[in-house]
């Protein structure tokens, strides 16, 4: 047989589609032609495959090889097709068994000596292969742990093309080679910073717990050095562990971003804090040719922290409105649409004015009122609309520092257990609705018969609405936060105290 086929996976965003790799041998001078819209890196596969095969002791045919990647109209990127191309070529030459090769999905890049290199995006590719009904995948040994994280798939990790050919029935002697492993990058400190490090700032600690319990987006306003960043970096530590589906998604995004995944799924919520010079493509994803996930996608199921939020370009901030609304980031290109998950918890921090001193007791602000107004107006109204909690963070006084030394603070572990209990209570109440946490619940549901509060409990809120202090939308937001506070306090429904606290967490915010 001069024709053989096998399978590989082409990724677009996190979605993979199956690519059939066909190889045909025809009686002409040695050549290898690769068709089916490969990009530059993939076109060079012809050189890698021919050399790797020769150095593995199973040279390709000396006739002409035509390799087709089908569907031919789908653009294909990267070097992950090398193994599939090599095995299709060997199967066409009957060096390996065409039947065996045809039933397996092959992923991985070849080195010139025939060894297999770990390839980024392995996890989403294996997930896609499983979804498409394939039960066996062959991957580089350096990726085998990562591929094995996907349930219900048989992973064959091979160190070299020679091993792969032997597995598929080639009559070769096994040759031990040193497998190429992932460079284990310096694992960033797995210990999450603890809430107990925070001195004073009782309001802040409470607001963080409420935000974690209800999945509320949060906006922190305060002078430099007040501890905004310190607070924000402790929010992921308060969130519960990721469930199985979320863990797989977070790990897939890590894999796609070319970062090390390791031998177990990521179970802690990620924290992404892009610098304020980030472009829209860096924030939501993009890139020419290959579409990569941005910071907002990598923060999915975790926290996206924007320090110095008014310094971000307004177009970048507004690009976040779509994911905040739908939980999905769609990136459109002329020839494709890539979808990435984008359900993150947004934390923004800002100084109250360009010089940062406005409202602080120690120094006076030098900014004219107009520039102060302009500064915060850079965060657009529609974006602020989605933020339930605004927090004033103040600098610590010497007295607070002395007090804190006497009293140990709340630890993250205790706070997290409170948050987990509160989320369980909310999930119980919201069973049968499309929502899981209070931050997602719609206003009409909150005001409907199933959740209506006592008039005595909402008296302060109603008065604020009558006076024009808040709008209807603001009213709903206060209710949402009040429910989260009630869940944290372990009471069945929010009373006067919880509503008051929720109202306090909106002070100074746009109506």
């Amino acid at each position: 047989m001069a024709l053989a086929r096998t399978h590989a996976v082409a990724l677009l965003g996190l979605d993979g589609s199956l690519v059939e790799v066909e190889a045909d041998i025809s009686g002409q001078l040695p050549a290898m032609v690769l068709i089916g819209l490969p990009d530059a890196a993939l076109s060079e596969a012809t050189q890698r495959v021919r050399t790797a095969a020769k150095n593995s002791g199973c040279p390709l045919t000396r006739n002409k090889l035509t390799v087709n990647l089908s569907p031919a109209a789908l653009r294909k990127h990267g070097s992950g097709f090398d193994l599939a191309i090599a095995l299709a070529c060997l199967a066409a030459d009957e060096v390996v068994s065409p039947e065996s090769v045809g039933e397996v999905v092959h992923l991985g890049e070849l080195a010139l000596d025939g060894r297999l290199r770990p390839t980024p995006g392995m996890l989403p590719a294996v997930i896609a292969a499983t979804k498409l009904g394939y039960t066996t995948v062959m991957v580089p040994l350096g990726n085998a742990d990562e591929a094995a994280l996907v349930p219900g798939v048989r992973v064959v990790g091979v160190a070299s093309l020679r091993d792969a050919a032997i597995w598929h029935g080639a009559k070769l002697e096994p040759l031990r080679v040193e497998a190429i492993m992932n460079v284990t990058e310096e694992e960033e400190d797995p210990v999450e910073p603890d809430l107990a490090d925070i001195v004073g700032n009782e309001d802040g600690i409470l607001a963080l717990q409420i935000a974690a319990a209800g999945g509320h987006h949060i906006f922190m306003l305060g002078p430099p050095g007040a501890g905004k960043t310190m607070l924000a970096s402790r929010l992921p530590g308060l969130l519960p562990d990721l469930d199985a589906a979320a863990a797989l998604e977070v790990s897939s995004l890590r894999s796609l971003a070319g970062r090390h995944v390791g031998t177990s799924l990521v179970t802690r919520p990620p924290l992404e804090s892009p610098h304020h010079t980030a472009t829209a493509a860096a924030m939501v994803g993009g890139g020419s040719g290959l579409i990569k996930p941005g910071a907002a996608s990598r923060a999915s199921h975790g926290v996206l922290f924007l320090d110095e939020a008014p310094e971000f370009a307004s177009s970048v901030l507004d690009a976040l409105r779509q994911p905040l609304e739908s939980g999905v980031i769609s990136i459109h290109r002329a020839n494709a649409i890539a979808h990435f998950p984008g359900r993150f918890q947004l934390v923004m921090a800002a100084n109250p004015c360009p010089c940062g001193q406005f409202g602080s007791a120690e120094q006076t602000c030098a900014c004219p009122p107009s520039s102060r107004r302009r500064y915060l107006a850079r965060i657009s109204g529609p974006l602020l609309d989605r933020i339930d909690i605004q927090l004033d963070v103040r600098r610590i006084t010497a007295a607070q520092l002395r007090l804190a030394n006497d009293r140990p603070g709340l630890t993250s572990a205790i706070a997290r257990s409170r948050v987990v209990a509160a989320r369980a209570a909310a999930a119980d109440r919201l069973a049968g609705t499309p929502w899981k946490v209070n931050g997602e619940v719609s206003g009409p549901w909150l005001r409907g018969p199933q959740a209506r509060l006592d008039p005595s409990a909402t008296a302060a809120l109603d008065r604020a609405l009558e006076r024009g202090g808040i709008t209807m939308r603001g009213y709903d937001r206060v209710l949402r936060v009040a429910w989260s506070i009630a869940d944290l306090d372990g009471v069945l429904r929010p009373g006067r105290e919880q509503v008051g606290q929720a109202l306090y967490l909106r002070k100074g915010m746009t109506p």
Partner: protein, 118 residues
């Protein structure tokens, strides 16, 4: 004479014998003109075949076929056109083939033939 020229000559002999055995009639060997040389010109069934012969003593540095480049074939194509201009009668059909000869110093010589490569 350099060893490699000798090897080339030996290879061309092997190729000619191989083709003759396969029923081809040899029209010319090492046909030369100003622009170059055609190793072998043979004929079978009214089709004239221009043959590039490539000889190597081993496969250590690749198969002989790998040394036949597109530029070399293009030159062969031009030379073939020149030969046809001079030929009487003009051939009805022509073809360009490559014969690869692996002729080790000791051991079996192997000859491989690719038809219609260009």
């Amino acid at each position: 004479m350099a060893d490699k020229d000798d090897l080339g000559r030996r290879g061309e002999h092997y190729a000619a014998d191989f083709l003759a055995e396969a029923g081809y009639r040899i029209l010319a060997r090492n046909w030369r003109c100003q622009q170059g040389e055609i190793d072998l010109i043979v004929e079978r069934g009214g089709e004239v075949v221009f043959v590039e012969v490539k000889t190597r003593s081993s496969e250590a540095f690749g198969h002989p076929f790998e040394a036949v480049t597109v530029a070399k074939l293009a030159r062969l194509r031009r030379l073939a056109a020149q030969w046809c201009d001079a030929a009487q009668p003009r051939p009805a059909r022509i073809r360009i083939d490559v014969v690869g000869v692996i002729a080790p110093n000791r051991g079996e010589t192997r000859v491989e033939h690719l038809e219609g490569v260009f």
